[in-house]
Each structure stands twice: as structure tokens, then as C-alpha cells.
């Protein structure tokens, strides 16, 4: 079972073209393990990324280094998944 305990979802607010450029570069790195739920397109649209626990510090460092503001909108994705699966089991019963 793939456990994603500790995965968070970041909402990133690009404020300049250089932020967008940096986020696009990040997205191109397929080894990063990041799951882009929305993509870096403009300063008007936030970018949501599911971040594996093992990548949290690397991403935070990256964002801080590039001065890109972000918030955490889901603290632990696995918790939501567990809740959802419990409900599925109850419904199946």
C-alpha cells in the first residue's frame, strides 16, 4: 500500500514572472515527486501542489530561496483518505 502519511498540499501564490518561471522549472523536474494539482500560469491563479513528506523541506527551501509565498491548505492528505475509505467500507456494508 502506498501510504502518503504526512503529504501536504501547498497553495503557492506567484507574484512575478520570475516566480512563475521558477515554478515551471520545478514542474519540469519529474523526479521531484511533486503532484501539481494546478499549474503555474499567471500571477492571478494560485498553484496547488501535493507534496510528499520526504520533499517538504526541499520544497520549503526552494520557495523561501525564491521568495515565493505559500500556505498549507491540507495538512495531512492521508488522514482525509483514511476517513474517506472508512466511509466507503461503512457504505459497502
Amino acid at each position: 500500500e502506498e501510504l502518503i502519511n504526512g503529504d501536504k498540499v501547498f497553495r503557492i501564490h506567484a507574484e512575478s514572472e520570475s516566480h512563475i518561471h521558477a515554478l515551471k522549472e520545478l514542474e519540469r523536474d519529474v523526479d521531484s515527486g511533486l503532484d501539481f494539482w494546478t499549474h503555474a500560469v499567471s500571477t492571478e491563479q494560485p498553484v496547488d501542489i501535493r507534496v510528499p513528506h520526504s520533499r517538504l523541506y526541499a520544497l520549503k527551501d526552494f520557495l523561501k530561496k525564491n521568495n515565493i509565498p505559500f500556505t498549507v491548505i491540507i495538512n495531512n492528505v492521508q488522514e482525509l483518505l483514511v476517513r474517506e475509505r472508512e466511509e466507503m467500507v461503512r457504505n459497502a456494508e
Partner: protein, 315 residues
Amino acid sequence: VERQTKSFNFAAYHDLETIYNFMDTLVASHSNLISKVNIGSTYEDRPMYVLKFSTGGEKRPAIWIDAGMHAREWISHATAVWLADRIATDFKENRAPVPSILSKMDIYLMIVANPDGYVFTHRSPNEFYRLWRKNRSATSNPKCNGVDLNRNWDAEFSGPGASDDPCAEHYRGPFAQSEIEVQNIADLIMNHGNFKSFMTLHSYKQLLMYPYGYSGNDAPDRTELHDVATQASRALNSWHGTIYKVGSIFHIIEPASGASVDWAYQRGIKYSFAFELRDTGEYGFLLPADQIVSTARETWYALRYIMQYVCDHPY
């Protein structure tokens, strides 16, 4: 085994088998109105079904609605299940405007446009991947399966907002309509030849969108499409006050080439819209099941407005 749609739990997420069983039950309960059309098979050889709501006639003007093209967007499948039941019961109980719409047009509703991906999102415990988006076809990279079905249509394929990397979430595939799931839907629509509206249900944050996705240029019918979408979003808002943003795919979500709505519009289906249903904030792709029915109902108000408009504005 006695089966009844009225005992079906619409406030729950269900696996593919349960949804397919529900479709059979619905068809059996409304055999004068609904038929189940098998439009082909998926990459992993699962059948693909469309519910056809029709009061008769050959190749009448028709409305297309699909859900679940992105596997993890479970609220879209669940909404489509509820919609199927609602259309059937509104017709049966002669509740406006469904009977008058169906007296002139057919409705095709596809509840699960990406069955392989949907099954994959339910697999457990060994292959659990609830947040899978694409289908499951093999790609040029043996480590990365799957093509994003909403980047695979023959609409400026390989343009902006799609990736040529099989490992990317929005991998477009090797060529336009390389994916059997997309080809099956495209074949049905082209062979029919008389679709007047094409609507696709997705989920993330509340948006109602129209072409184009591949370009920031205005579509020729942009003004009318914007007005229709604005009115539809007001109808939707009347239920819970949910606020939708309205605009072109390119401008209000992101550039997206190879998208189904652009494909439909480019083939003359003027009233082409994409919905991003409520599924946001704390719950990306994990909307609590107790919000399914309210989401479905508000979506129905928007769809109903658009269907009525399409019916009243033949072209």
C-alpha cells in the same frame, strides 16, 4: 435480486461495478426512456457505457454530458449518478422542463468516461492510488503509465498546457486521439452528427468555462457563451449560494491544448462548456460524501438552464 434506484445511496461514493449496476437498474426502471449504449472498451478492456435518454426518433438533436474523465474527481462521477436519476424522475413525474426538452432532443450522459483510471483510484490495499488522474495505458516510459484524456483530443494537440512527458500528470499522449477512451467518445459524437451541446464535468474549484483552452483568443461565439454560462451560474447559485467563476478555460483556469470542449466546439457544437464542480479548499478531490447531493443539485440547476437554452435556440 430485487433492485431499486430509490434505495440507492446517492450520498456515497461508489466503485465502478456499483455504478454500472445502478445504470442497469435505472434503465430497467425507465425502459421507455433510457437505454444503455456500449460505445466500446477501454485500454484494460472494460466496457464504456453511455445512458441515452430519448423519447424516440432517429438522430434527434442531442446534448452530451460526461463525467469522470479525470479519475480522481470523484464528485463528478457521483454527481452524474444523481443527475441520471433526476432526469429520469423528472421525466416520469412530468416536472418541467425535462419532458419538453426530451420531446425535442436526446440526452447522452456518460457517468464514467475513464473507467480504468476510476478503478485504479479504488484499488486497495496493495495498489492504492486515490489521487490518480489519467487513464492506465502503457506509454513509451515503462515506469509511467497513463495519458491525460483531457489533453488527448484532436484540438490543437501538443500545444500549450500539455506535456510530452509520460510521467507528467497532464501527459497528452503520443498523438491526437491515441487513447481508445477518447476515440470511442469522438466516434459516437461524429457518427451521430447532430449534437448541439457538449458538457463535461470535472472538479476542483467552482468554474464554468467555455472555449478556448488552447488559446487566449476569443471564440467566435464568446459573447453568447459567456451570457449563457453567467445565467447558468446564477441558477446554480440560487440553491446554496455557491459562487462560480465564468470565463474561457485559458483565462480562468489554465492553458490546455487537446481539451474535449475545444474539440467539440471546433466541430460545430456551439454550446460547449466545462464545469469544475465544488471540490476545493481543504478538500482537493476529497469532497466529503455528505456534500455530494447538494453539489449535484446545484449543478443540475446550471445544466438544466443550459439544456433549456440549447433547446430554445436551435441552429
